[in-house]
């Protein structure tokens, strides 16, 4: 039983962590938390199932197309819901615009795809084992994304530009960095990461439109606990969240798990609104 708790918990935790990284990538480019983060995860599963099961494409093609779909939704988020409100003085507007877009995508999926849970294909043609691919694929995806982001941010020019924008938007623009293009690229990247989360975790989560709000919430918990913009913190917090949830699920039942996660989340947020690893900001008058 312990084995099963650990493998399920870590796998689910890695999916949460990937959604948290999706939030972070969008946040560092725009200072905006987007409600579409969980929607992207949901889309990864739905698109994977659509291309591979319904349309019969090979797994690799399905993966590429699902990621492309995620990137597209990421870019649309930037154009439709983020760019128009970035200049607005009213800081709450992005919450509403990204929420609206997330709902549009989610409802469209519900109507055009299905309101029921749909099966997701087995990605690799190997026999079912104790430590099955449905567990290790999300972990692999998470590791690949973390390693990829480290490489990108530390060793490429584009990555340095991303960091510059995240650190100081004004200074970066003054240096002549194409802020808007970089922001769109960040959102495309975030879209792919979100879609990958849903794709790699497809067998656990299935292709289901209602995964969107669930992932939006549980994906944000690691962001809040790990500190916004902090990807490593997000992975650790995500895995802990997954383990805690699964353990509580097995030991005392589902409601307690949800209530406990929610309670811990609220208490931590109230005690440290900047996250456990974040720094506080003086406010300006």
């Amino acid at each position: 039983m312990v084995e099963s708790i650990v493998s399920t918990g870590v796998a689910i935790g890695c999916i949460y962590a990937l959604i948290a990284i999706t939030y972070n990538v969008m946040f560092s480019a725009s200072r905006v938390f987007s409600f579409t983060a969980g929607t992207l995860g949901m889309l990864g599963g739905v698109l994977g199932s659509l291309f591979i099961l319904r349309m019969g494409m090979p797994v690799a093609a399905g993966l590429v197309l699902a990621l492309a779909g995620g990137a597209l939704v990421g870019v649309v988020t930037e154009i439709v819901a983020v760019r128009p409100v970035l200049k607005s003085l009213e800081q709450h507007l992005y919450v509403l615009s990204t929420l609206a877009l997330a709902l549009v995508v989610q409802q469209f999926t519900a109507i055009e795809w299905s309101t029921e849970q749909q099966p997701f294909p087995r990605l690799l043609d190997i026999a079912r084992g104790g430590f099955d691919q449905q567990f290790w694929l999300p972990m692999l995806a998470c590791a690949v994304v973390i390693a990829g982001l480290e490489l990108l941010y530390r060793h490429t020019l584009v990555g340095h530009a991303f960091l510059a924008i995240a650190e100081d938007n004004f200074a970066a623009r003054a240096l002549g960095l194409p802020e808007r293009t970089l922001r769109m690229a960040s959102f495309a990247l975030a879209g792919m990461i979100g879609a990958l989360a849903g794709f790699a975790g497809g067998e656990m989560l299935l292709a289901f439109f209602a995964n969107a709000p669930v992932l939006t919430f549980y994906g944000f918990v690691p962001v809040a606990l790990g500190g916004m913009g902090n990807n490593r913190g997000a992975v650790i917090a995500g895995i802990l969240l997954g383990l805690f949830q699964q353990a509580a699920n097995f030991l005392v039942g589902g409601i307690f798990a949800s209530v406990a996660v929610f309670t811990v989340f609220i208490i931590v947020l109230l005690a440290r609104p900047e996250g456990l690893a974040g720094a506080s900001h003086q406010r300006r008058v």
Partner: protein
């Protein structure tokens, strides 16, 4: 009534106010008549729709105070509908307790909802927009999961029967009138709040939080009351909803419903009662006109929300606001009437001197102020000048409690003022203005000024909710005082205009009028002359002097040396957080270092 102010009250604005009040009540009257006579022309199914619209409005009216007025993004409010529905149904069904009569169950649901409204809402005191939105979303998910899993009480996925109210409310139209009556009462109560100091304070928290604090508005207490009220009416709506559904399962309370409530408010327009009411009716009725669209309704709501946010953030309320589309006079001038300050300010009690002892504060490695001594007496104008970054505004922020000094103390009449207690400053009669005017743009100039007198109201939230005499007395008095303050700074002809239509200089004088509402012992002005014309600066100077003559001590942070030297009794020059010079204007003008460093030869 404030008899002292009556003869000075400009009569034209009063007449305008009365006619607009009548005009504002008219749409509600029409809706009321239509609602009462609805059974005459609405057949069976439309009766259900109308009942549903009433029930939704009971919830939305309360949520409107949270979202539309307070600006708190509570998107998961369906949780309280769920809670109310289950509380009522379970108590009536008797699965956990002895069976209770429906009215009693509904009456119990209200306080339960109030408590949970407070629990869901309280994080708003600490968390910013997105965080708060997501906690309400999480709460909505949790409540549904609990309802699903707690089978012995809620019936789990099978559900539980909704309560049936006894005659005369058991028939379709009987129940409709029950819900309609509650909806009408909720409209009346929330309209009372909207027109009270509590409603104005909520909009101030939404649009100009620092100004709200400087006016003495305590955010926790205010939002707490609003969450209690909003939770209670939402739970009552839940009980009614359960009756209308006749059988409830967790599936009935989807997030879509929450989104409907939320969007109804935004479509209606923030800070309005009529707008969200029309929005609720619209969103309830709309899907019924186009049956094939029912499946798409949430999709359409979401598209609508996107369009509203991007294209018309003011919503229906702004569309209907014809009055504020009339062009304003273009060559209007601000002509203060300092002679009105005496009746306005009365004679402030001697608060003693305001002193800073050795105050020091640094941000990280940057020293903002370094061992600053300052003393201002009642009736004195004290100028604070110095180059950018010399610590002028920081000094002001320390006095008004936004920053805690790391060393030293700020004292009033010898007693140290509480550190970081921003909204307590107003109670010590210390008022301030801001470098960038902090104004509620969608409220009228008069309402903005009335915000300044919030702490002088005596009626409690409940008294205002029910429009009891003390509430009406408060409002009449605040209205008259605010008109007087506006006349004193020279803006009374703009009283009923939306504040965001004003010119920059007019906003500065509006802020001064708002600060005067406190009858301040000390008034802190942060660059009041910035952006003003030469003529306006002259009038500002005369106004400040008159304020000081009435007994108020004034601290002016300014860049205009002429203004400072004209009006100040004493001037302190700061450089790099330290006092470079202090003395009378004549001494400062002759001070060699000051001339070299700052004034220029």
């Amino acid at each position: 009534m404030d008899m002292q102010a009556t003869p000075l009250r400009p009569s034209r604005a009063k007449v305008q106010g009365a006619s607009s009040l009548y005009g504002a009540a008219l749409p509600f009257l029409v809706l009321f008549v239509v609602g009462v006579s609805f059974p005459l022309y609405g057949g069976g199914y439309w009766g259900v729709i109308a009942t549903r619209a009433c029930i939704y409005w009971v919830l939305v009216s309360g949520l409107n105070l949270v979202v539309g007025f307070g600006g708190q993004i509570a998107i998961g409010w369906v949780a309280l509908l769920t809670l109310g529905a289950y509380t009522t149904s379970v108590l009536v069904a008797g699965t956990a307790t002895p069976e209770l009569p429906p009215y009693l169950a509904l009456a119990i649901a209200a306080p339960v909802g109030a408590v949970f409204g407070l629990i869901v809402g309280l994080p708003a005191l600490r968390l910013r927009t997105f965080y708060f939105a997501i906690t309400t979303l999480g709460f909505a998910t949790i409540v549904t999961q609990v309802a699903l899993a707690w089978q012995s009480v809620t019936g789990g996925g099978v559900g539980v029967a909704g309560p049936v109210f006894p005659a005369p409310f058991d028939s379709q139209w009987g129940f409709y009138y029950f819900c309609f009556g509650l909806a009408a009462i909720c409209t009346w109560m929330t309209a009372n709040i909207a027109a009270s100091r509590f409603g104005r304070a909520l909009t101030a928290i939404r649009d100009a939080e620092v100004a709200a604090e400087a006016s003495g508005i305590a955010k926790p207490a205010l939002l707490g009351m609003v969450f209690l009220f909003s939770g209670a009416v939402a739970a009552v709506a839940g009980g009614l909803f359960a009756t209308l559904q006749s059988y409830i399962t967790p599936d009935a309370f989807t997030l879509d419903l929450s989104i409907l409530f939320f969007i109804a408010i935004l479509i209606g327009g923030r800070g309005s009662i009529l707008g969200p009411l029309l929005g609720t009716i619209l969103l309830t009725v709309l899907p019924e006109f186009a049956a094939p669209l029912v499946a798409w309704s949430t999709f359409l709501y979401a598209v609508l929300l996107l369009v509203i946010v991007l294209a018309m953030p003011g919503g229906i309320a702004e569309m209907l606001d014809f009055r504020n589309r009339r062009p304003l006079e273009s060559d209007r001038a601000i002509v203060p009437r300092p002679e009105l300050l005496e009746p306005l300010l009365g004679s402030p009690p001697d608060a003693g001197a305001l002193t800073l002892d050795e105050v020091a504060l640094s941000f990280g490695g940057v020293i903002a102020i370094d061992g600053l001594d300052l003393e201002i007496g009642p009736g004195q104008v004290h100028g604070l000048i110095g180059p950018n970054g010399s610590g002028k505004t920081t000094t002001l922020n320390v006095i008004s409690g936004y920053y805690a000094p790391q060393r030293g103390a700020v004292r009033l009449n010898g007693a140290a003022m509480p550190v970081l207690a921003r909204h307590r400053r107003a109670h010590l009669r210390i008022a301030r203005t801001f470098q960038t005017p902090r104004i509620v743009g969608s409220a009228s100039v008069l309402q903005n000024v009335m915000i300044g007198g919030t702490i002088d109201g005596e009626a409690t939230f409940v008294e205002s909710l029910l429009s009891l005499p003390r509430h009406r007395r408060d409002e009449a008095k605040l209205h008259d005082t605010a008109m007087l303050a506006l006349a004193a700074v020279g803006l009374e002809q703009l009283a009923s205009v939306r504040a965001d239509r004003l010119q920059h200089s007019e906003l500065r004088f509006t802020e001064i009028a708002r600060a005067l509402m406190l009858r301040p012992a000390y008034l802190l002005l942060d660059e009041p002359a910035a952006g003003l014309s030469a003529e306006e600066i002259e009038r500002l100077g005369a106004l400040i002097l008159a304020i000081a003559r009435a007994g108020t001590g004034v601290l002016v942070v300014e860049h205009h040396p002429d203004l400072i030297f004209d009006i100040c009794h004493r001037v302190t020059v700061l450089n790099l957080g330290k006092i470079l010079a202090a003395g009378t204007p004549a001494e400062i003008r002759a001070h060699r270092e000051v001339v070299n460093a700052y004034l220029g030869a």
